[in-house]
């Protein structure tokens, strides 16, 4: 049996595979093809909790990630913050990663600055949200703010004393929070928030984490973790729910960074499946050729 196609495939240059991968990832980005996700129970639980909490509830937003893990976690941070603002909760931003400071700032700029800074009920700094900045000391810092925030950090990120901020009146420690939402990229992160703050102080906590970290956090769900949003897939799930509930403007592509990355994911996965099937087709054809024409 002679088949020029099979011969060609047998000696296929791997650069063609590279090219197909580049196209599979690039075209969805350029054509802005996104992908939705069917929400999974751990993500739905967090969404429902933020919906359920009465307006003006206190939510601690712990942003423990850096630019390298921003691919997965920044879209998550955006949707969490957006959802809280839509429900008009009070937000307390904090990070235990030194690299987390710019992440908080850009989240605030992108969400509160762009969508909630004006209008009939604008979000005001010090009244509706506060940026507590970076807390040094890793896990120790968590246990410190769970007993007394002012001891860990007497001032906010802008250097204003916490006592001067209306949002801080009546807030002594993490105990006064109604929910902790954490975007965590590793150590210290979700696990430490559960161990040192949420479980001892009995505050519900939900974590958004990277795909790699999820295996570490899964054992805590659902007993110690209210919700768990995993990797880029979890971010897409959350955006999907947000878009379904608040289609204007959150069904808009420009507000859905994870959705846009989802398209690339989907096509790349399809390509991988195709490649494995093709590889085995070649293999079987070769075997057939060998048995029929030894």
């Amino acid at each position: 049996m002679t088949s020029p196609l099979l011969d060609k495939l047998n000696t296929l240059d791997r650069r063609w595979i590279f090219l197909s991968m580049a196209l599979a990832v690039l075209s969805p980005i350029l054509l802005q093809i996104g992908s939705d996700e069917t929400p999974s129970p751990p993500t739905i639980k967090l969404f429902d909790e933020i919906e359920r909490l009465p307006e003006g509830s206190r939510i601690l937003m712990a942003m423990d990630f850096d630019p390298t893990s921003a691919a997965e976690l920044y879209p998550m941070a955006l949707s969490f913050t957006r959802h809280c603002c839509l429900r008009h909760h009070k937000l307390y931003f904090v990070t235990i990663w030194p690299t987390g400071k710019p992440m908080i700032e850009s989240t605030i700029k992108a969400v509160i600055g762009a969508d909630f800074g004006s209008g009939d009920r604008p979000y005001q700094y010090g009244v509706d949200y506060v940026n507590l900045g970076y807390l040094a000391g890793e896990a120790v810092a968590i246990s410190q703010i769970s007993s007394d925030i002012r001891k860990a950090r007497p001032q906010d990120a802008r250097g204003t004393s916490l006592d001067e901020l209306p949002i801080m009146s009546g807030v002594i420690s993490v105990k006064e929070m109604d929910l902790i939402v954490n975007a965590s990229a590793g150590f210290p992160g979700g696990k430490e928030w559960v161990q040192y703050a949420a479980t001892p102080q009995k505050v519900p906590i939900a974590v958004g984490c990277t795909g790699v970290q999820s295996t570490q956090l899964f054992p805590y769900y659902p007993d110690q973790l209210l919700g768990l949003v995993t990797g880029i897939r979890g971010a897409i799930e959350y955006e999907t729910m947000l878009a379904a509930k608040y289609p204007n403007p959150y069904a808009n592509r420009s507000k859905r960074p994870a959705f846009l990355r989802g398209g690339a994911q989907r096509w790349a996965h399809r390509l991988m499946i195709g490649l494995i099937v093709l590889g085995n087709g070649i293999h079987l054809a070769n075997r057939y050729r060998r048995t029929t024409h030894p």
Binding site: F18, S35, T38, R233
Partner: protein, 236 residues
């Protein structure tokens, strides 16, 4: 003698680390050892830097093929060190620091060292990392072929998990009878992926980890008993 002393050092500090774990007054010694290691490794990195310079200087002086690239390496090395150690572009961040020329974090945004990290170091490194997406594809194409039972298992699980990872998993529910009104369709492959992850992946990793722990024990004992001294070189 040249070899007995190092082996003795290794045995003694090693055993001390083990004993310290069980003895509260000695427990800080374990912490200290980690700390000391960082300091030793830091001083050693200067040896590494010197070696890097010599290696490339030799290439340049021998006019080996591609010596120009060695020159690029040396220049970028020298510039990074100079910018970083002299804290070029770093400004003090508080009133009390203003008097000090060396104050301010060395990685401060806007400083020279930050620029090097942000626009030279980080793009190259993360692009190298991104190349892995291509290699994953080519490795899958080449290696996942049904040559024997083991390879078939490898490839089938990979396929199942790949389908289960994105929303395309929903095609598997097309073969099932339509769900009752109002309930989400049952997706068998999503459950299967989760099952594989919870059972086989966990079990495989656990068994490997149990084995590794015993391997580490034996390797450590080889060092502590002085049976294997290859890392210490030969006797002169």
């Amino acid at each position: 003698m040249s070899k007995t002393v190092p082996v003795l050092i290794a045995s003694i500090v090693g055993c001390l680390m083990i004993v310290a774990y069980f003895s509260p007054p000695l427990l800080p010694a374990r912490q200290m050892a980690e700390d000391w290691f960082t300091i030793v490794a830091t001083i050693a990195i200067f040896l590494g830097g010197a070696n890097l310079c010599l290696h490339h200087l030799k290439k340049i002086s021998d006019r080996e093929a591609g010596w120009g690239f060695s020159a690029v390496t040396l220049i970028s090395f020298a510039i990074t060190i100079a910018v970083g150690l002299l804290k070029i572009g770093v400004v003090p961040e508080s009133e009390q620091q203003i008097k000090l020329a060396w104050s301010g974090p060395f990685q401060q945004e806007g400083s020279g060292f930050w620029w090097i990290y942000q626009y030279l170091f980080s793009p190259i490194v993360s692009t190298m990392f991104a190349l892995l997406a291509f290699y994953v594809a080519s490795a899958a194409f080449r290696a996942f072929r049904a040559k024997n039972l083991e390879a078939i298992l490898l490839l089938i699980t990979a396929l199942i998990v790949l389908v289960g990872q994105t929303r395309d998993r929903e095609i598997t529910s097309l073969f099932l009878p339509p769900p009752a009104e109002g309930t989400p369709p049952y997706v068998p492959i999503a459950d299967l992926t989760e099952f594989i992850r919870k059972t086989f992946v966990t079990a495989g990793q656990r068994a490997i980890m149990i084995g590794i722990a015993l391997g580490v024990v034996a390797t450590s004992l080889r060092i502590l008993l002085g049976l294997d001294r290859s890392y210490l070189g030969g006797d002169e």
